[in-house]
Amino acid sequence: MNTSPNTEILSLRDVGKRYGNVHALRGVSLSVRQGEITCVLGDNGAGKSTLIKIIAGLHAHTEGTVTVNGEEVTFTSPREALDRGIATVYQDLALVPLMSIWRNFFLGQEVRTGWGPFARLDVKHMVRTTGEELTKMGISVPDLDRPVGALSGGQRQCIAIARAIYFGAKVLILDEPTAALGVKQSGVVLKYVAKARDAGLGVIFITHNPHHAYLVGNHFVILNRGNVSLDSSRADITLDRLTNEMAGGAELEALSHELSAVTAATDAN
């Protein structure tokens, strides 16, 4: 277990989760500290999304304890997690396809103007803010009134990320945010993540890209078939070892060798 001078915002002790007959997560312990980025890595189906869905309040854990700011919690809805300043970007997006971009951006956190029964949506403000935030992320979305369903995969992902960053107050959780993104947009997201950290947020960053992880992470947790197989701070690990641990070491060696052989053969064409 790593130690750090920063305050612990969120911690998990021996957390487990069953889906019917599948024991997707077993005895996972993890802590998120102010101003630090915890990277969660692991194979497909290792349980990463399950882990963050528990923290985000989307699923309830079936074993262990989750503590936020020293208080033990079992979230029964994402609203509770949001109210504690935990904002999440889900892998399966969580945007409503038929709704417009700006409505999606502010969904559940609508800004209102006027008072009492006459309180109404501050549409102007929301449209402007959405536009600004998206421009900052470097993506061009022509018309903020268009339904999200008509956007490209990467554009949708950017909206989800921009929203979480905009509303994240204490903890920011990102599940493979850069998967669908181009090189430029990925860079922007990484920069944002680093900025959020510097602003004192605790960040959980899930990715399959060890380069991305190593570029920003303070701690690295590797999940393997629902168990934590590695938990290390940045100081104790190198990029190479991280990559190896992620992919199952020797196996990868052989593969990359094989691949370059194949490519070499083609290049000789």
Partner: protein
């Protein structure tokens, strides 16, 4: 099955950064892509058709009849449309209207109370029915079709059984000579001295459509309704109180059922326990014809109003045109399909621009 896109088209829409691939859409095309515009054009087409074939329709009196007849469907269609946008159905909406009428009249009559007390009790009961439907829905996670089918049967049974037990017959006693009847009638069944008399449900209807449109497009709750119907899982994930929203929508249906029930009661002085069965389908029809998606997440209150209007124009228009009663359902069916195809063609034209 391409779902129409764009629940909202008002307001800003400032681009994040200029993109030369995007043409500004001509105003006409923006207007044409509103969910209700297709049905509006369908309605206008049908109206013109009947103006031509049914001279009687050209009189003010006939127009008021059509409006009144549309309003008795339209009042309920507003809340049913909201519920449908929120992703649910209410098959008990038709009999709930009768339940409200029966409750108000029997409470007042049997307990010898002022009619207004009955009216209030009926309101509480109507809201409670909505609450029960919504609560059972979110509690069990069953499809609303089943839940409200169950409450449809139960309410039908209660309407008949309770009325029979209490009054010995199948209709509630006449309350026209009771305290408060005159004032309640003056409110729920007022007739404005415009033309041949403009009956107040038409105003209720217009007001409800305005309020519902405001709620849908300009309030937080409206946003939640679209989200709860469009993708409940996603909505929940970003903190929308999906369950509360759905329960609220069912209660809104209860409210309009009460309003219409009170109009019926004070217009007719008594209530028949077997009435209302089957009307729920007309409410759903109005909503769907008006452009609401059965799968939720898309639609408008104005559209539902236009759907109700189409229904009123066609059913009355057929009579005014003097067409053979045997065939009127054939005409009704054909017009329904035609109106919706016009709607579709308009949408497609709009999308192409």
């Amino acid at each position: 099955m391409s779902a129409p896109l764009t629940p909202t088209t008002h307001a800003g829409g400032a681009a994040t950064s200029a993109d030369d691939r995007v043409r500004t859409r001509p105003l006409l095309s923006v207007v044409l892509s509103r969910p209700e515009i297709g049905s509006l054009i369908g309605a206008v087409a049908l109206f013109v058709l009947f103006l031509v074939v049914a001279p009687t329709l050209r009189s003010g009196a006939a127009l008021l009849t059509v409006l009144y007849s549309s309003s008795t469907i339209g009042i309920m269609a507003v809340s049913v449309a909201l519920l449908m946008i929120g992703g649910e159905f209410d098959l008990s909406a038709g009999v709930a209207v009768t339940t409200a009428s029966l409750t108000a009249s029997m409470v007042a009559y049997q307990l010898h109370l002022n009619v207004w007390v009955g009216v209030l009790v009926a309101l509480v009961l109507a809201l409670a029915v909505g609450l029960f439907n919504g609560w059972l829905l979110v509690r069990t996670g069953l499809p609303s079709f089943i839940i409200t089918l169950g409450s449809f049967f139960m309410l039908t049974g209660l309407n008949l059984g309770v009325t029979k037990v209490v009054t010995g017959g199948v209709s509630s006693p006449t309350i026209s000579d009771m305290d408060g009847f005159a004032s309640a009638k003056a409110f729920f069944d007022y007739t404005l001295p415009i033309g041949n008399g403009l009956r107040i449900p038409i105003l209720f209807w217009v007001a409800l459509v305005a309020v519902a449109t405001w709620i849908l497009l300009r309030t937080r709750v409206g946003n939640w309704v679209f989200a709860s119907g469009g993708d409940p899982a996603a909505a929940r994930a970003v903190g929308v109180p999906v369950k509360a929203t759905k329960i609220g929508l069912f209660m809104a249906v209860g409210f309009t059922a009460w309003l219409l029930g009170m109009h019926n009661l004070f217009a007719y002085s008594n209530a028949q326990s077997g009435n209302g069965v089957g009307n729920e389908l007309y409410y759903i029809i109005a909503a769907v014809v008006g452009g609401c998606l059965m799968t939720g997440g898309y639609g408008s209150a104005i559209g539902a109003a236009i759907g109700a209007l189409i229904y009123g124009v066609v059913t009355n228009g057929i009579v005014y045109a003097g067409w053979q009663a045997d065939w009127n359902r054939l005409f009704l069916g054909a017009m329904l399909v035609v109106a919706t195809i016009v709607n579709l063609v308009v949408k497609n034209q709009a999308a192409k621009r």
